[in-house]
Each structure stands twice: as C-alpha cells, then as structure tokens.
C-alpha cells in the first residue's frame, strides 16, 4: 500500500521501526501491514478446521497457533486491543459449557469423577435431570465442544485484531463501497456511545445529584441518545455534502438486487462449506452456485458504480503465503478424512481418541502458525 513512496524514501521504514511502534506511527510512515484479505483467508481456513476438530487437543493446538500469530503480528490499534476481550469471551464459552454439563447435561459413562446426586424433574420436563454423577469422559466432551466453539470465535477475533476492519471494507469490490461507509460508521458508533455514556455520567455527577433507578437510566440514556442522533445527523450532512451516494450510471435498484443475490450466494456457499454434517452431494453444487452468484453479482454491480479507491492495499508474495496457509489448512482438513488417514497416529488408543489428538490437526497447527514469521508488519 505504500510502494511508490517506499521507493523514494528507502530508509524511512527502518527509521520508523527503530523508533518503536508508537513514534513510528506518529512521525514516519506507518508500517506496511498485510492485505486484510490475506488474514481473513487465513482465519477462515482455521475456522473451517475448528468445525471439524476431533477434540480437546486439536482445538487447543489451533487456539495456540492463533494466539501466537496475533501476539507476533498485531499492530497497536483499537481493534488489536480488543483481542484479550475475545480471549475472555472464549474462556467464558468453555466455562459455560462445563457448567451446563454439570447442571443439566446427559450423564453417561462409568468413569465417575464427582458423584453428585441426581435430582429428577417433574413429569413435564421428563428426560432432563439436574446434576447427576459427573464423569471424566462427559467432562472432556463438554470441554472439547466448548473449546471448538472458542477456537471458532478466536478465528474471527484474530482476523479483526490483525486487520483494520475499515481497511478490509476498502478492499471489497466497488459495488460494496456504498455499504462500506455506513459499516465503517457503525463500527465507530459503539465506542462513541461508550465514550459519551461515560462523559454524560461524569457530567451529571457535577450537578450534585445522585440519581437512582429509572430516573438515573433516563437521565443518562436521553442525553447519550440525543448526542448520538445529533452526531449521526452531522455525519450524514457531511457525507451528503461530500458526494456520498451520487447517482451513477444505471439504477441503484438493480445494483441493490445484484448485491443482495451476491451476498445470498456467498452465504449459502459458506454454509455448505462449513457444515460438515450436511449431505456431500448438496454441498458442492451449492458452493459452486453461491460462488458464481457472488462473483457475477458484484462484477455487474461494480460496473455501475463510479467510485474510485485511494491507494488500495497491494497484494504481494507475503499476502499469497499467508493466504496459502489458510487454504492449505482448509484443504488438509477436508481431504485427510477422504484419504482415510484420519487416524490418530498412535493407533486407536482410547486416551488419544478421548483427548482429541489428531496428526491432521498437528499439521494444521503448524500451517496456522507459519504467518507469525512472515506476517509481521514491516
């Protein structure tokens, strides 16, 4: 994204990195980050893998890889600072899963860990029992299910942390630019609401009244919402006077219809790819249809939109490598079971099976962590 300027000032990058990240961003050129799409491909590859994870160890390997890559490659920004929040959310998903297992989970197996009494529920809730003996295998199953979900969550957390979502939107096809600006604004609204909420709370304490209950909520909510409304009106006026959504060739309705079909196609295709339980014969045509619809829709729609991009992100070798890692992970996960090589590598020992160890996912973990060495901003 900074190629031409980099040619003229060959030393500026080194100077910027020497000064440390903060000053580098402030004074020199900002570091050259990877194309956001590369990170998204990488993250989606891992996301696909998490849905096929056989158990605890495999999911843990993927999570470890994600955390390592984010720790190494992230740039200081509001979005990368949100990654710890994703980690906390992931941990709470696992904890919740375990709590539910202990409370109302179906208790099977004989390897009892914690002999809790089972409390039968009345007739109308037949089939559900409160508590009951907690077994090791049951607990492991709960944890690994939780971890798989946590890993999926972290994939998206990582993609958001490693890319600036606003730059991601800028990489979308031209037809989606009209949606890009509102999306960017929507993303700034939440932090702004938090900020103005805090500001209003602080300001109202200045009036010396400690409001409680409904009155307090109304007293804070009203100014915050009014503030948000005023801001959005000001912003809309600014967008309008800066030429946003100028009418270009053709009708905007056709563009919208094409866009919707493209999005629908993309959604169906993604679902077909991610859902491992659906019938195979349905997945491939759906994927093909979805992909085709998405591409056609955006190509036709893009032709009717006359906006341009200022310094779009550039796709180079590093981007290709990172994206290849993502594709490779997806490929390994999808192809290995077909080859019948899904074995654990230790034979079929029960410990390995229970822990969820799989040689496939060890390979995936290695692939997933490779971007840590190539994806750093330079």
């Amino acid at each position: 994204m900074l190629t031409s300027a980099a040619r003229t000032t060959p030393h500026s990058d080194t100077i910027a990195s020497d000064l440390g990240s903060e000053q580098g961003v402030a004074r020199g050129k900002s570091l050259r980050t990877l194309h956001p799409v590369a990170w998204w491909v990488w993250a989606l590859g891992i996301a696909l893998a998490t849905t096929r994870s056989p158990g605890l160890v495999s999911s843990a390997i993927l999570i470890a890889a994600i955390v390592v890559v984010v720790a190494v490659c992230h740039q200081p920004s509001a979005f990368s600072r949100a990654f710890p929040a994703y980690l906390a959310l992931a941990a709470s998903v696992v904890a919740l899963r375990v709590v539910f297992y202990v409370l109302v989970g179906l208790k099977t197996g004989t390897d009892v860990l914690l002999p809790l009494p089972s409390i039968p529920l009345p007739e109308w809730a037949a089939g559900i029992a409160l508590l009951g003996p907690v077994t090791i295998s049951g607990l492991l199953a709960a944890i690994s299910a939780g971890l798989a979900l946590a890993a999926l969550l972290l994939c998206f957390g990582a993609a958001v942390a490693l890319t600036n979502p606003q730059r991601t939107l800028r990489s979308l096809p031209a037809s989606l630019h009209v949606l890009g600006t509102p999306a960017v604004i929507a993303m700034t609204v939440a932090p702004q609401l938090v900020e103005s909420w805090q500001r209003v709370r602080k300001a109202q304490a200045l009036r010396g009244r400690v409001l409680r209950g409904r009155k307090a909520v109304a007293a804070t909510t009203l100014p915050v919402l009014q503030d948000a409304l005023e801001r959005s009106i000001a912003r809309a006026a600014s967008m309008d006077s800066r030429g946003y959504a100028r009418v270009h060739r053709g009708s905007s309705r056709v563009v919208l219809a094409l866009l919707l079909s493209a999005l629908l196609g993309a959604a169906i295709g993604t679902y077909a790819l991610l859902d491992g339980t659906g019938p195979r014969w349905l997945a491939v045509p759906l994927l093909a249809f979805g992909g085709a619809a998405a591409i056609t829709g955006s190509i036709i729609a893009s032709r009717r939109v006359a906006t341009t991009r200022y310094r779009p992100d550039v796709w180079r070798v590093r981007e290709s490598l990172v994206a290849t890692c993502g594709v490779a992970i997806a490929g390994v996960v999808l192809v290995m079971p077909l080859l019948g090589a899904a074995g654990t590598g230790f034979g079929a020992s029960s410990v390995a099976a229970a822990s969820g160890w799989s040689i496939t996912f060890a390979v995936c973990g290695i692939l997933a962590v490779i971007p840590a060495s190539i994806g750093r901003a330079r």
């Binding site: 960017v184 300001a203 100014p223 000001a234 200022y310």
Partner: protein
C-alpha cells in the same frame, strides 16, 4: 460565484423565517465573513449555499440560490460536492474515515476521480495545509487545530470553487487559529477559492475579510465588500442587502470586535481592521492617554510595562486593582492544589501543578489545545482522574465528598455543557435545580434570564443554541453560590453581548467571595474578566501573574487593545474609556 436572489428561508414548524428576502452576490475569489448574533441565521445561510438547506434540513425556501451557475433547488448537496466544499462546526462529527489520508481522499473517491490524480491532489493539499507530519495518523489522535486543518483539507481535495466554513477557529487556541486562517488566506490568494465563513470571534478574522454579510436578528442581510472602500457605499441598498466595506459594515454592527470598538471610541475614520492599520493611527490616542509623545515611550518600553509607571494606568485601573490587592495580601484561599498530577497511561496531562485560587479572584487558565487545562479542572473538581497531589477546597478534599456535598463547595461547567441537561424543558431543569440547591423558587431561572434573556421556558433545552444551553448550565451550577467556580471554555458559541452578560454575572460571584477559575482560548474575554492569568504548557504552569502583566507581555495572548496601544498596558476598550474619562 454565490448569488442569493430574494431568498427567504423558514424551518418547518418555525413561526418566523430565519432569513427574509436576502439578495446578495459574492464574487469569485473573495473571502466573505458572515457576522451576526447567536441565532441570526449564520449557519442557515452557510447551509443554503451547498443545498443542505433545504435538501437535508427541511424547511421552506423561496427565491433562488445559485452557486457556480448551479441552482441549489435542482442540485442536491451531493451533486454540488465538486463545487462547494463544506467544513462544519465540529470537524470530528463530519469525519467518515479513521485516517488522515483516507479522509482527505474521501470526497474524491465518491466523485470517482482516477487514482493517480487523487494521489497527486492529496499530496498537494498535504503541502498546502502542512499536514505532512500527521498524514498517516488516526483522526482521533489529532489535536483540535490539526483536526480542523484536516477537515479543510478534506473539503479541498475535490478542488471546490467555494469553501464554506462554520466557526473554523472557535475551538482553537490563538496560534492554531492563526494557522488555520493563514491556510484559508492562502487558498483565497493563490487558488482563487471563494471562502464564505461564519465566526463569532471577529477579532481573529475581520482583518482578512474582503467583504462582510451582516445578519441582523430580524433575518435581513447586509453585504459589504472591501473593494468599495468607502463608508459612503454603506448606505446604498439593493433590496434588503447593503453593500459596503467591512469597515463600513462594522460601523453599524451590533457585533463588533475590540479593535472596532476602540476605533469608534477614538473616532478613527475609516475604521481600521488590522492591528497594523490601527497602530498607525493610534499615536494621538496613546499621547492622550499618557500625556507624553509616544516615541519617547517606545524608546523605553520597560518603563511602561510596570503597573505604576504610567499615570493613566494607576488612574483607570480602579476596578481591577482591588482584585490585584487580593493576590498580594495573604488571605485564606478558597482552593489550594499541591503538586497535582494527572497521568493517562504513559501520557502526562498535568505535571506537578501547585496552585491557590483566592476568594474574589477571577483566574484564567490559558495554554494551547491539549496542554492539560481540562484535565486540571476535572482533577481540581474531584471527579476527574488524579494521579498525585492534594486538593483542598475550604479545607476539604472535593474528591472525598459525595456529589451533592461537593456541589456546595465547588462546581464545574464542562466543555460540553449539554451533557448536564436531561429534563424535557428549560423550566423543568430550573425547578429541579432550585430544589436541589435549596434555593428560592425561580432563582435558577432568574440567573438564566440574566445570562440569556427572552428564552422560552417551555421548550426543550436541545432546541436552543449552544450558547443558550451553556447559559442554562451556568445558571444551574451558579445557583448554589459555591465557593469555587470552575469553567471549561465558557465562551464557545457566545457572541459579544452574551460574553458581556457572562462577565457581569461572574464578576458578581467574585464580589461575594467566590473564586472563579476558568480555562479559555478567548483572549479578549480573559482580558475583560480575569484578575490573574495562569499559562499551562505540557501540564506545567509556565506563567502565573496578574492578567495585565501576563497578557501584555505575551505575543500570543495579548488582546487587540494591548497590541494597538503597546507599550501602554491597556487590556480592554473599557480600560481606555475609563482612562479617557478620567483624563483632563
């Protein structure tokens, strides 16, 4: 370039029109200043020019507005984007991206300008406005002055022929304001851009204006151009609009900066608009004030900087010398802060500030944008972050008090006063405040009436102008008669009349023994009201002394009267008037 033909504009649901029968033509390459009191329709006039009114705001427009040959009736704002660039009152509210260079390119992206041209224009604007050092930074990490320049740059990249700005310097410190104005002036001179701007702080812009549109409260506009050059043109009428030089417009304007008031007082004809012009004609006035020829004075400026050195000063400074005494005499202070620090992570906002504010004293806190003024005020009030040091208000630490106890000793009016308002009418806010402060029924309302007369009590506070809301919050905070009054930028959105009313109210509170501590960029307001000035830089106090000495000695913070009459140490037109009245 811009022409309004018999334009009348009325907002939907409003009883009276904001603008009535306005006819004026602003030629290309002119810097035109819109002057008027709060609520006289300045912003509306600006919005009419790029079609936001009525396309965006709604309302009823009669007559024709033409910009660059396009009728705004048939061309909505987005189609005028290539012709008119708009910079709103709050630049941050208008930002649609998160980085400086993206923001600069946004308009061009929407207009579909090819990438190589876009790149080139962004570089040009970066050079023009001196944005090189911040081009890759996040918009939220910029100072107010930088944000304002980015907003102007973002409007410029599309190469509009008209640039419309609403209060471009109101949030800026004096030097940042100079920077922004210099950039604007360059656009007018080098690129032939037509600039139309509204600004309350006329002292900052009047000298640069080629013409003035004077809006009176009744909705009629008078336009004057500098090219006419003589006061005689001032009386010529074209429909409801008058044409004349800014000097001619200023002669009859209710809203006038100190330089104009001084000119009127001294009877200068034509009225000088810049400090340079005023100094050239001010020789006789200086002589009258001192009784000595000025050339002797200028030879020995040190003699004149002291308070007692000129006889005129000791005579006229009756009102303020009483307060100067309070600085010298060791009285019990209302507010004492020792070694106060505020750190935000690794950023040090306030760095070991020790300060006392005495009863009956009005102290102004000055310093550039981001020098830690707001942090200091919040830390003093007690609810802001305090990383070290102690604060005592009448012997108590306000941070340990509950909000309702604290308000009896110390109040703060923050930079965004509207945050304090949450009831649905002015009357309800006033009653609530009376109850909370234990004041008589109608006490708050009475203060509000003094600060902002004639405002309907049944309307929602949000329906009022920024200045009126500020007046309401001031009334709410002052009604309890606290010992310490902290004000953060209390003059935003106030016109000269409102500032005078505010000064009067604050002076009364000081007289009853309150300590007033206010932060402000408004040099003229500080000159009028402050006894003492504290200058903050990078969180440290660099100057602390009597207003007269600090303000006249400073290049940045000197008020207009002081610049004109230097080396005499007069701060305000009232000072001069008193001195002349007292002189034989």
């Amino acid at each position: 370039m811009i022409s309004l033909d018999r334009v009348t504009f009325r907002y939907a649901g409003a009883a009276a029109a904001v603008l009535t029968d306005v006819t004026l033509t602003i030629p290309e390459g002119e810097m035109c200043l819109i002057v008027g009191e709060t609520g006289s329709g300045k912003s509306t006039l600006l919005q009419l020019v790029n079609g936001l009114a009525p396309h965006f705001t709604g309302g009823n427009l009669s007559g024709t507005v033409t910009v660059g040959g396009l009728d705004t009736r048939t061309n909505p704002p987005r189609d005028l984007a290539g012709i008119v660039g708009v910079v709103g009152q709050d630049p941050v509210a208008g930002f649609v991206t998160d980085r400086v260079d993206d923001e600069l390119a946004y308009s061009m992206e929407q207009l579909g300008i090819p990438a190589p041209i876009m790149r080139q224009r962004v570089e040009e604007v970066i050079d023009l406005l001196g944005l090189d050092r911040i081009r890759h930074r996040s918009l939220s990490a910029l100072s107010a002055g930088e944000q304002q320049r980015v907003a102007i740059g973002a409007a410029l990249t599309a190469q509009p022929r008209v640039l419309v700005l609403d209060e471009p310097t109101s949030a800026l410190d004096p030097s940042a304001a100079e920077e922004v104005l210099a950039a604007l002036l360059r656009l007018v001179h080098d690129l032939g851009v037509t600039v139309l701007l509204a600004e309350h702080r006329l002292e900052r812009v009047i000298q640069y204006a080629d013409s003035v549109v004077l809006l009176e409260g009744d909705g009629t506009a008078h336009c004057g151009t500098a090219h006419c050059g003589s006061a005689r043109c001032g009386s010529a009428r074209y429909g409801s609009a008058r044409y004349g030089s800014p000097a001619a417009m200023m002669e009859s304007s209710l809203v006038a900066p100190p330089i104009i008031e001084l000119g009127r007082l001294a009877g200068w004809q034509p009225l000088p608009l810049s400090i340079r012009d005023a100094r050239r004609v001010a020789g006789p006035l200086r002589e009258r004030l001192t009784g000595r020829p000025t050339d002797r004075l200028t030879d020995r400026p040190a003699e004149c900087l002291g308070e007692e050195s000129t006889p005129a000063n000791s005579e006229h400074a009756t009102t303020r010398s009483a307060d100067a005494r309070s600085i010298d005499s060791p009285r019990s202070e209302n507010l004492r802060a020792v070694n106060l620090s505020v750190h935000y992570g690794r950023v040090i906002a306030v760095d070991g500030v020790s300060l006392t504010v005495n009863p009956g004293e009005i102290t102004a806190l000055m310093g550039r944008n981001g020098s830690g003024k707001s942090s200091l005020l919040w830390a003093l009030q007690g609810s802001g972050l305090r990383s070290g040091g102690t604060v005592h208000v009448s012997g108590l630490d306000p941070a340990t008090l509950s909000p309702d106890e604290a308000i009896q000793h110390i109040v703060l009016v923050p930079q965004r006063p509207s945050d304090l308002l949450y009831l649905d009418s002015v009357a309800a806010e006033c009653q609530e405040s009376d109850r909370a402060a234990g004041a008589d029924q109608g006490a708050t309302s009475a203060i509000f009436e003094r600060l902002s007369p004639g405002v309907s009590r049944t309307t929602h506070p949000r329906d009022h102008s920024e200045g009126q809301r500020l007046a309401l919050v001031l009334a709410l905070q002052l009604v309890g008669k606290p010992a310490v009054i902290l004000l953060d930028e209390p003059t935003r959105g106030l016109d000269y009349t409102a500032k005078k009313r505010l000064s009067a109210v604050l002076a009364e509170h000081a007289e009853r023994g309150a300590a007033v501590f206010l932060s402000s960029h408004d040099v003229e307001f500080v000159a009028r009201i402050a006894d003492r000035v504290v200058v903050l830089s990078e969180g440290e106090i660099i100057t602390d002394g009597p207003a007269r000495i600090v303000l006249t000695a400073s290049a940045t913070f000197a008020p207009q009267v002081s610049r004109i009459l230097r080396p005499l140490t007069f701060l305000t037109v009232d000072d001069v008037r008193d001195a002349l009245g007292g002189a034989p």
